[in-house]
């Protein structure tokens, strides 16, 4: 190969050459561009043309923003001696359309009896306070930043400790004294006794605007609705993964005198791996229904995210699955986050790590699109 061919070979994939400290002395110069070089120059020009052409002709970018005829009601929880929090109020499905006015809220589960059955990763955070609902609530708020606390009156269950409604109400009073955040008040799940327990608790918490959990088709929901109206509370309307059941129950509750702003819906949380996709579908349909203008579905939604801890993948010791210390919280995080991304507004949860992560991600839901400082990721391939 001659020198020129060698040089051209070297330049095959070259678009430009920079020559340093180069000097030529001559009296007369005639330039002959070799055909290969001419070709290269033409190719380069052609390339530049392509870039310019395509940049010019790329279609206009329009963000896909939609209009929604309906609006989700805003529900206030906490009043009287509590600092209120607000749920719902959305006028769109996604943040880039319109940021939601209120961030998702996490409420910490507290029980009126020590819960030896709670999985170890949770017990180890609360073991020292389980004898006292007030101390338990205080720890949840002070140490773990709870927005709210859920007082579960499990002890009133006839098959648990059969505590009286009055005793349940006392536990509620204790927690009201101990913390200043709004409360959810839950009963034991006994259809006969729950309305009586909730009634007594509602009276004890008069004017504090708690969320009474829950009214459902299996119990005397009229009594629960009346207790809420008489003592100034909101009601959790619980249905079983069924949009139509949810609509009917909401209608019944509104017939009793409750307004959209007095109701939070619980469409049932199936845990990750245990039918979470059913919850996704119902929650998506419910929120879309509300935004499309169905007045029976325009309430904020709640999730009993704690259900995640019933999954064996969360709590069961199994070396092949790695430590429950990480697996457990992740199970609760993913159960909650999945539902948050599909429209749920308030989460009942147990583990401090899960609560922290859900809150942090939830906070971004109220921010405007592209107003946050974004991390620099252009060169992640070499920087990671």
């Amino acid at each position: 190969m001659d020198k020129i061919s060698q040089l051209l070979k070297l330049m095959e994939n070259t678009d430009s050459i920079e020559i340093n400290e180069f000097r030529m002395d001559f009296e007369e110069l005639e330039l002959h561009l070799a055909p290969a070089i001419q070709q290269t120059i033409q190719q380069t020009i052609a390339k530049q043309e392509i870039i310019e052409k395509t940049l010019l002709s790329a279609g206009e970018f329009n963000p896909p923003i939609k209009e929604y005829p309906g609006k989700i009601a805003q529900v206030q929880l906490g009043d009287g001696t509590r600092k209120p929090v607000y749920l719902g109020g959305q006028e769109s499905l996604y943040r880039f359309e319109q940021p939601q006015p209120n961030q998702p809220i996490v409420t910490f589960d507290v029980f009126d009896i020590p819960m030896p059955g709670l999985p170890r990763p949770i017990r180890e955070h609360f073991e020292d306070v389980m004898e006292s609902p007030g101390e338990w609530a205080k720890k949840a708020v002070k140490d773990y930043g709870a927005n709210m606390v859920t007082m579960h009156l499990i002890g009133t269950g006839p098959k648990v400790m059969d505590k009286s409604p009055r005793e349940g109400a006392q536990a509620v009073e204790e927690v009201l004294q101990a913390v200043k955040v709004p409360l959810v008040i839950g009963a034991s799940g006994d259809p006969v006794k729950d309305p009586l327990v909730l009634e007594a608790a509602a009276e004890a918490a008069e004017g504090e605007r708690c969320l009474l959990a829950s009214a459902n088709m299996d119990l005397d929901y009229k009594k629960v609705a009346k207790a809420a109206l008489d003592y100034g509370h909101a009601v959790l309307s619980w249905s079983i993964i069924d949009v139509n059941m949810q609509k009917s129950l909401n209608k019944y509750l509104m017939n009793e005198g409750l307004k959209q702003t007095d109701i939070v819906m619980d469409p049932t949380t199936c845990a990750l791996g245990y039918g979470i996709e059913f919850s996704i579908d119902v929650i998506t349909r419910t929120r879309l229904g509300g935004l499309k203008g169905d007045p029976d579905l325009q309430m904020p939604m709640s999730s009993g995210t704690t259900n995640a801890w019933g999954s064996r993948e969360a709590w069961m010791k199994n070396e092949a699955w790695g430590p429950t210390d990480y697996r457990g919280p992740l199970w609760e995080i993913m159960t909650g986050l999945t539902l948050m991304l599909n429209g749920v507004d308030i989460f009942m949860m147990l583990h401090p790590t899960s609560v922290k992560i859900l809150r942090e991600i939830g906070e971004t839901f109220t921010k405007e699109y592209l107003t946050t400082d974004l991390p620099q990721i252009d060169n992640w391939i070499s920087e990671l």
Partner: protein, 457 residues
């Protein structure tokens, strides 16, 4: 928007020739719109009609194959934004990050872990799907050498480098295996596009946080005749996750609802980027990475690159993916009746559960692995889990009595005692009343069922 059978029918010859094996053109149209038959089966279409129909039935999001032969994985193909409307197709591909700076030993170890990670749920083995080889070294020779080692890997490869020279070097080794090229950005677009064409490989367009730029890049690639494109709108973690979700949702909405040709491609998310932040300790980083992965599985990622490979990080996201990509049109239920486990005779113990597939397979798996011998009675709860079925009224005394009657169970099994799930304790009395059988309330979790039978039955 979903294509109806009518839309398809209008473009068919309407001769009812039956060459395709269907009774009529309308029947063929119905199957075609449900993706149950191939367009090629219609023999009477000319080139133009064929092209028109092909365009009509193309999914809103293009399907793209990564890898070849027995290690091909397909991503994309979605038609709807919400799974209840139809179903999501082609579950999110999970690729694990492997930097080219690892020592030979560490490299082999990581590939080994990726290939052997599996987790069984409801009779299905869940696994990872890909290897993302990353040109961390910045060195083309190193990258190519590492790529060569993946020639025999079990899963398809994503080649990650912004340097066209390094990419070319790696493609010289494994370009014939259709790796996904990651990525073309505004600086290297033409060089990377040339490589995608030269090696006939799918290519990613990367424009972090700028959908307008992303559209421009994709338009460029399309103008060069490239068809297989993957979108990376940028995965920002931390406070940036809100913008990440917005961008992913917009990409998918533009594809499905706005029919924007520059966005009708699968999206790749990179939860691994949560590890760029050096403030957290390693465990929290793995938890956050899995958390971001779960967000992106929910909101429209078709492929993910993940750095960690710990089993406790993988189990939750594999489980989430399995759930979300289950076809909602198919009932998640097994047939009601009775199922023998191990060596049974007419006096073997009887254990009751629901016909929700997940519940049944969990109970069955637990009893089998404990080498139990018993019958599982399966109640028709329309595919609901125990607690949900009890609340919904499908799991009660009457339903259990009907089950015994409908399946003539008392003719086959002489036992008159059954174990019911711990979660069904509230209906134990009515089951006894309606069936006349003795009822034992079993454990809440079936992992303890085998021992329970031995001790209490």
């Amino acid at each position: 928007m979903k294509v109806t059978a009518m839309d398809v029918y209008k473009l068919l010859p309407q001769t009812n020739c039956e060459e395709c094996g269907e009774a009529s053109c309308m029947a063929f149209a119905t199957k075609l719109s449900d993706k149950e038959i191939a367009l090629e089966k219609c023999s009477e279409l000319d080139e133009k009609q064929f092209a028109k129909l092909e365009k009509l039935i193309a999914p809103a999001v293009r399907e793209i194959a990564i890898g070849t032969g027995n290690k091909v994985k397909t991503i994309g193909g979605d038609e709807v934004l919400y799974r209840y409307e139809e179903s999501y197709y082609n579950q999110t591909l999970f690729a694990i990050d492997v930097p080219d700076t690892l020592s030979d030993e560490d490299f082999d170890n990581k590939v080994n872990i990726i290939e052997n990670t599996e987790f069984e749920r409801t009779g299905e083995i869940l696994t990872l799907d890909g290897i993302a080889l990353r040109n961390k070294s910045g060195n083309a020779t190193k990258f190519a050498k590492a790529a060569k080692k993946l020639k025999n890997a079990k899963y398809p490869v994503i080649l990650c480098s912004f340097d066209p020279i390094a990419m070319d070097a790696a493609l010289k080794e494994i370009g014939d295996e259709r790796p996904l090229i990651y990525a073309a950005n505004e600086n290297n677009l033409n060089e990377m596009a040339d490589l995608a064409i030269k090696y006939d490989c799918p290519i990613t367009a990367f424009a972090p946080g700028d959908l307008e730029k992303l559209k421009e890049l994709v338009f460029n690639l399309r103008s060069l005749g490239i068809k297989d494109i993957v979108l990376d709108p940028g995965t920002f973690t931390g406070n940036g996750i809100g913008d990440t979700i917005d961008n992913f949702v917009m990409c998918k909405r533009l594809a499905i609802e706005e029919n924007d040709e520059d966005f009708r491609f699968p999206i790749i998310g990179i939860p691994a980027l949560s590890k760029l932040d050096n403030t957290d300790e390693d465990i929290s980083k793995d938890i956050m990475e899995a958390t971001y992965a779960s967000i992106l599985i929910n909101k429209y990622a078709d492929a993910l690159i993940i750095e960690g490979s710990e089993i406790w990080e993988m189990i939750p996201i594999l489980t989430l993916r399995q759930g979300i990509y289950t076809d909602p049109r198919k009932p998640q239920a097994v047939d009601p009746g009775y199922y023998p486990i191990g060596d049974v005779d007419e006096n073997s113990p009887v254990i009751l559960t629901t016909n929700f597939a997940l519940t049944f397979y969990t109970v069955e798996g637990d009893l089998k692995s404990a080498k139990s011998s018993c019958y599982i009675l399966v109640l028709d709860t329309v595919g609901k889990a125990v607690d949900v079925a009890i609340a919904g009224g499908q799991f009660d005394g009457k339903a259990v009595a009907d089950l015994l009657k409908d399946h003539k169970i008392e003719d086959t099994i002489k036992t008159r005692k059954m174990v019911i799930p711990g979660l069904a304790a509230s209906v134990s009395g009515e089951i006894e009343d309606e069936t006349g059988w003795d009822v034992l309330v079993g454990p809440r979790d079936s992992s303890a069922a085998a021992d329970f039978i031995i001790e209490k039955f």
